[in-house]
Symmetry: C3
Subunit: 360 residues, 3 copies
């Protein structure tokens, strides 16, 4: 792990009047760049040649400068990182940045100051740690079946290596699981869940609340809610697909997001959940999570939220709200996206000379 001292040392040498907000041109970079400009910062986009035109085509969200790479591996090269430091860059890590550079590489080989607690990367990528975190927060989690014989309801089988939601399938019993795994040509690991895990399929509706924990204000903000648009599972109803067809053709690739609000009386639960996730993170990896996170939940018809995952950074669902959401308007008078919120935190911390509280 890159030490906090090393990052603090780099930060001390930064020209605080000329901080540059940098991120990879993908995922949620448009709102980050727009937000950074709104807050008065310089912006830098790291991108492959083919992505540049996307960001050029949106003038208000085009970064002031690009660093073009042919391969994401270049990002880890010393020279590249020194270029970022030379520009007083604070990097905003989003899902694509973490995925393309690699969470382990970011932990051990990326010495540019990043927004947020670097330790969170480990707690997010390691599924056991993630579950420990959510359990410690006291959230309701879907039941996980370790023993095939115990499967007594509809379950979703997920493979750890599966990218973008592919390779999920539904089973109703241990027998069905064995049949399907055999058909799929996968090795059955005698019930060891190294390769896959079997999770209760929770009936209900999906809500993805976005949060922001602000060390400056010492508060957890509920910032918006979305629902992921999963391809092609969310379109199969139009042909009246049967369970068998859903199993055969169904996939869970996120291709977009839909806006949604929750019943106001449910906000109490969502806010509680957010506060508890923050508190648990402060215990598990002090000083805990900093900035944006998202809980991936299903609300059951008994009004209980079951949380099946946490994204410990800005999520793409916030792209729905580049000028603010149905909840951010109760927090800020200005149009406040999650991207802008991150940069606002950097600005506030910088003004208080407390950048080291939010940058790791």
């Amino acid at each position: 792990m890159i030490s906090k001292d090393e990052i603090d040392e780099a930060l001390r040498r930064y020209d605080k009047e000329r901080i540059t907000i940098a991120t990879l041109c993908s995922h949620s970079a448009l709102q980050i760049f727009l937000g950074a400009k709104q807050e008065g910062f310089r912006t830098l986009g790291i991108c492959k040649p083919e992505s540049k035109k996307v960001y050029d085509s949106f003038p208000l969200a085009s970064p002031d400068e690009y660093l073009v790479v042919d391969s994401f591996e270049e990002i880890l090269e010393d020279e590249f990182q020194m270029e970022l430091r030379k520009r007083n860059a604070v990097v905003i890590p989003h899902g694509s940045f973490v995925e393309y550079v690699g969470p382990k590489n970011l932990e051990t080989g990326f010495f540019v100051p990043m927004f947020g607690n670097r330790k969170v990367l480990e707690w997010e990528r390691d599924r056991k740690k993630e579950m420990k975190w959510l359990q410690k927060a006291g959230l309701t989690l879907p039941q996980v079946f370790e023993d095939l014989a115990e499967i007594d309801r509809l379950c979703l089988v997920k493979f750890y290596g599966a990218k973008g939601g592919r390779g999920f399938f539904l089973v109703g019993s241990g027998e069905e699981f064995k049949e399907k795994i055999a058909k799929a040509g996968r090795k059955l690991l005698n019930g060891e869940s190294d390769d896959y895990f079997i999770q209760e399929y929770v009936l209900g509706l999906r809500y993805y609340p976005h949060y922001f924990y602000s060390p400056t204000f010492r508060r957890t903000e509920l910032f918006g809610v979305d629902r992921r648009d999963e391809c092609n599972i969310d379109g199969l109803y139009r042909i009246g697909a049967t369970r068998e067809e859903i199993q055969k053709f169904g996939s869970y690739v996120v291709t977009g997001n839909l806006p949604v609000v929750v019943r106001e009386s449910l906000l109490n639960k969502l806010i509680d959940m957010g506060n508890k996730v923050v508190a648990a993170s402060q215990d598990l990896f002090p000083p805990g999570i900093v900035g944006p996170f998202c809980l991936e939940t299903i609300c059951r018809d008994d009004l209980e939220f079951v949380t099946f995952e946490i994204s410990a950074r800005i999520v793409a669902g916030t792209n729905l709200y580049p000028l603010g959401s149905q909840y951010s308007c109760y927090l800020f008078e200005e149009p406040m996206s999650m991207g802008r919120r991150i940069v606002r935190e950097i600005k506030l911390a910088s003004e208080k000379e407390r950048l080291e509280d939010i940058i790791y």
Copy 2:
């Protein structure tokens, strides 16, 4: 019923320069508080201890003052009501307020000035009166089957006492109805529809247009449209649920709302429907409905709207539009939520010294 004279008398004693907008901390209170602040009013939140933190966590929608109750019954106590009057409170009744305090209690035992015509409570809670109102307005209603033998299509069976959309089921014939009601362990009332009613299941898409009738402008405003997110019925397609599974597992609990707009050529119909509902209310319970209401409709593929219910107050679907909707922007230049719209009406009526036209 609390007499209009009594309310008018209370209003006369109010300090019109210091009116406080009060509501229960739930349902749509965030937009009501934000709107009241935007319009320059003091705000007061009635809440249970556990809800306070929700409203505190959104600084721009936190009421200036709370009156905390341990039980909603306290709201009906004389002392509590006198506290509200002392603060020149105008209460905005929303769905949770009406439900928790009880519509009958509000009619007969709540003597604090409330926004809107108090008589509407009776026309909304009594299903027969509600239907009379909608019929008088000339709306297309779903066919209701009183005689089991006449059931000739897919029908939805609803129980009057059912809370939050539970206990609905689908039947295709009188025989199926008898079987299901027997299975559910409910008494069959020889076709008397005291306990349940059987309604044609209308194929189509659900649209919930929000309206505001302004006595000040003497106009009905179409303010926005939403679709309710019903848990778990709106998620069951993801497992390819059969009709039988939908019957067995399906529920209709509203957990959120989705934004939607209608084809512009359909606005003519929606506006007509709104105007007719207002006109019918003026005949049935003069001076008729005041302020917000919502029609719960299904648009069939012949472009006819079938109305199955009316909510005669602010609905939670307006929570989607705290800074205005796709229709309110054609009515007001400012970001105008339904909550703010209510308070604006109070402001306009107050300026014209006509508060008694909108407060009952």
Copy 3:
């Protein structure tokens, strides 16, 4: 075809300081009128008597003046057109205007200056030309089956004359096609596709990206994305409809629109597709498309967009964003609807004395 010279001559006689933005009161007229007012233009609504009240009920989108017609045929009368010219009218053609007046009539008998390239009407209404255009642009199109014997997957059968999405059906083989067409009482045309066409049914999610090609800025702007709400197909899942029931009861009538955003990494593809459609149009019918268009796509789970249609004008999906969308905010600082965008282009071209580049 009305000659460009004739339009240019009319334009020359226009008082450029008093241009009136005119359109038919339907489809997307509210945002066009609001946008025109925001940009400082006079507005004129062409309408049937029954539509006037819709536009009157939205004061900020009410046109300054109406020309009321009893039948849309009046629009083609010389006298009517001279009235429009007398007011220096630039007509914004939208879907309902084109449909009601008739694309051929607009091409040959409507001599009032219209926004956009008039030649596009022909390329849009003739399905073979439309396909040629999309193919030339290099877009991925759904496979079309000319020979019944070749049908090897789920297909959608569409009839050319079908209005509003009715009369579509699904078939899995040539045999099934023959059975269904016989049942429907339609003549089978020995495989000639004059009456119907058979298209691969693409599994995935529907995205309808809105674009604007600006001759003034020489750029294609990605302006927003929506999903059409199709009645009743998008509601049938709530009763667990089987394929057979979907075939029997299902219809595809557009009754509304839902907002949606796409994964940011997919914007590259969408922007490419837009640029290629513009380039192909410039080759096929110079100077090519001017102003708004929309691609009707399905995103598959391999992240490929299959385009099944183009709308070469403002689409109703833009009604979701009367004050700007999740993408327009990266293009313009002001709240920018597609309606306003069109009028802004007229304003910019007028200032540069280049109206003839965008009006035909």
